[in-house]
């Protein structure tokens, strides 16, 4: 019995025990800290190998795989330095947010200028006038929005007007989360306005269009998969490059591309994130990397991946691949800041449309 009391007395110094518990926790934290990586950010300017991080949006994976190889070869030849380019892909808005939250991108290559503007506004990493630093609004390639339909076009879809016919199911990602879908939305709006003559008519048309949408994926790639793999819907509103990719590589002979009478000139911009590049000592190589995109060699790769090249000669060479059509631009909507606030912000036109459809 004495023993029990003794032992019990032993527990009467809990302060020391609590301290011991805290120490044990500290040990745990130390374990975590042990794996804390000092970011390998040190200045790399003079190193034998240099690393770049390109934070991009979803559909550019295949393009940048080729671009990176070509650029690395050129940089090695010119500077005797080997460069590896790490890639991060995801929805454009999500990627932009990651950079704002500290993802150490040296360059960003996103779906819309709005997402790079957001980085400039919310951090000090980037000059607000970034878009004028490179030619063509900092967009070395363009694309547009076209329709992908099932082989033989069984529903007879030829233009935007056919999308709101009864029984036609339209697949598009969610404009709230997908950059590509915002271009879709604006292209549809442009058609509605052209035909109806007013914003009210445009909103009516777009409302009818979104009433025919059965699934809203969060990204362009998800929407393509829904259409091609799951067999949902009659028409996919897609980036032109994605439509070509689906037609030529996903299901040869299973899909047709339909080019509408009017669409939008999508300009996916690129920018060096100065703050990160300065910290990493990668300014020179990052700038060279983006300038490389404008060279004939890169423009050729760009065209081969179904993006519309800026270079007139390359454009002429691939002219029959990219049909000419009536294209509005984001300027017709007052630029991205205005378009975002009016159409896609909370309570904006898109929210009103969705609320109207489901109430």
């Amino acid at each position: 019995m004495a023993r029990i009391i003794n032992k019990a007395a032993g527990t009467e110094v809990p302060r020391r025990r609590v301290v011991a518990g805290l120490l044990a926790t500290a040990a745990g934290v130390a374990m975590l800290a042990g794996c804390t990586s000092k970011s390998d950010a040190g200045n790399q300017a003079g190193a034998a190998t240099i690393q770049l991080l390109n934070v991009s949006y979803d559909p550019t994976r295949e393009l940048y795989k080729d671009i990176n190889t070509a650029f690395a070869k050129q940089w090695q030849a010119q500077h005797g330095q080997s460069v590896t380019i790490d890639m991060s892909h995801g929805g454009s808005g999500k990627q932009s947010r990651a950079v704002i939250d500290g993802l150490g991108a040296d360059v960003v290559t996103l779906a819309l200028a709005y997402d790079i503007d957001a980085i400039a506004q919310k951090t000090k990493l980037l000059d607000p006038n970034w878009q004028s630093r490179l030619p063509d609004n900092s967009a070395p390639y363009t694309s547009t929005i076209v329709f992908l339909v099932r082989k033989g076009n069984p529903k007879g879809i030829h233009d935007w007007g056919d999308l709101v016919k009864p029984g036609v199911q339209v697949i598009t990602p969610n404009p709230k989360t997908s950059g590509g879908a915002r271009w879709n939305f604006l292209a549809a709006w442009a058609y509605g306005k052209k035909v109806g003559g007013s914003d009210a008519a445009a909103q009516k048309y777009v409302s009818r269009l979104f009433a025919q949408v059965p699934v809203l994926d969060s990204g362009a790639r998800g929407a393509t998969t829904t259409f091609t793999e799951r067999g949902i819907g009659d028409v996919l509103l897609a980036w032109e490059n994605e439509a070509f990719l689906a037609q030529n590589e996903l299901g040869k002979g299973k899909f047709d591309i339909v080019v509408p009478s009017i669409s939008i000139l999508a300009e996916p911009p690129v920018a060096v994130i100065d703050g990160n590049a300065a910290k990493h000592g990668t300014n020179a190589v990052a700038t060279a990397y983006l300038k490389f995109l404008y060279t004939p060699q890169a423009q050729e790769l760009i065209a081969r991946h179904y993006y519309r090249p800026r270079d007139p000669q390359v454009a002429a060479k691939y002219g029959n691949l990219f049909p000419r059509l009536d294209l509005v631009t984001i300027k017709d909507f007052g630029g991205w800041q205005a378009a975002q606030a009016r159409y896609f912000a909370d309570g904006g036109v898109f929210d009103q449309i969705e609320a109207g459809i489901h109430h």
Partner: protein, 293 residues
């Protein structure tokens, strides 16, 4: 989210003060383990979660209500909680049946089946989402079978329920199994000898014994389902007001750089989850005490 009741005044060192917090015991190690538990809990869970609430308090009360309880958010909660409830209910019944079969019957391959039940714990949620979508889409193995009947599962609310059934099943089976084994077949045999019908035996003898475990399994499956994201986004249609789950709404807010909106919705869900779990823990404790008395 602080802990007003658990002030660490265990450091008093003198028995009277100490016993005001922890009952005296011959077993040592309270200070060490309790200190570690509390510290680690604060570090990994409470501190990060408080960051969330502080962000939310950055908004005015009016804004918070506006975003946290907008029609769209309410519909999303409705779907997240409703689908979890439905999936939990399905799992309570089927989980009980599966646990029953595993405990009471012997058959070849029993061990294999038993191990398979844990698969949803182990299979990454994104993989589960992709696989379930492939199965239940109109052109999938199962979706194709029922499509002619006019039933659509993938890309509807039913798809959400299917994903949550998959996620939640093991919780029920694993909660019920040990208790069912403890009840033992002899109790049933005794009841049967006393003239009870199988149904009576089940209702009067077995159900009261396994009730708390069943409820725990249900609640765990429910709580897990409310927050589930990875498996659901693939198979839900993600249509605002219709098939959009609350976690997706959080992601949507984030991608519009709207941290305040995201934290508002996240806070609402967090409080709801906390209340559900607290209720379950109290209930469990209560039934256990009643069982002892």
């Amino acid at each position: 989210m602080d802990l007003p009741d658990i002030s660490v005044d265990t450091g008093g060192g003198r028995r009277p003060r100490r016993s005001s917090f922890v009952q005296p015991s011959v077993i040592p190690g309270f200070g060490l383990t309790f200190g570690f538990t509390l510290a680690w809990l604060c570090l990994i869970v409470l501190l990060p979660l408080s960051a969330l609430f502080l962000r939310a308090t950055g908004m005015s009360w009016h804004d918070f209500l506006e975003v946290g309880f907008s029609t769209r958010a309410l519909r999303a909660y409705q779907l997240s909680f409703g689908a979890s409830l439905a999936a939990g209910a399905v799992n309570t019944v089927s989980g009980l049946i599966i646990a029953w079969v595993l405990v009471r019957y012997s058959f070849p391959g029993k061990r294999l089946i038993g191990a398979l039940v844990d698969l949803p714990f182990a299979l990454p949620t994104a993989v589960a989402g992709i696989a379930l979508t492939a199965l239940y889409a109109q052109n999938g193995w199962i979706g194709g079978l029922i499509a002619p009947l006019g039933v659509k599962i993938a890309f509807t609310r039913a798809g959400v329920v299917i994903a949550l059934i998959f996620i939640g099943l093991p919780f029920v089976v694993r909660s019920v199994e040990p208790v069912l084994a403890d009840v033992g077949a002899d109790v049933e045999e005794a009841a049967a000898t006393l003239g009870a019908t199988p149904l009576q035996t089940f209702r009067r003898v077995i159900l009261p014994a396994i009730g708390p475990a069943l409820l725990t399994g249900f609640a765990l499956a429910f709580a897990r389902g409310v927050g589930e994201y990875g498996s659901v986004i693939f198979i839900a249609g993600n249509m605002p007001y219709r098939s959009e789950i609350a976690p997706l709404l959080i992601v949507t807010q984030l991608e519009q750089f709207d941290y305040a909106g995201a934290t508002a919705i996240a806070s609402v869900m967090l409080v709801a989850a906390f209340v559900v779990l607290l209720f379950v823990n109290l209930l469990q404790r209560w039934t256990r005490k009643r069982g002892v008395a």
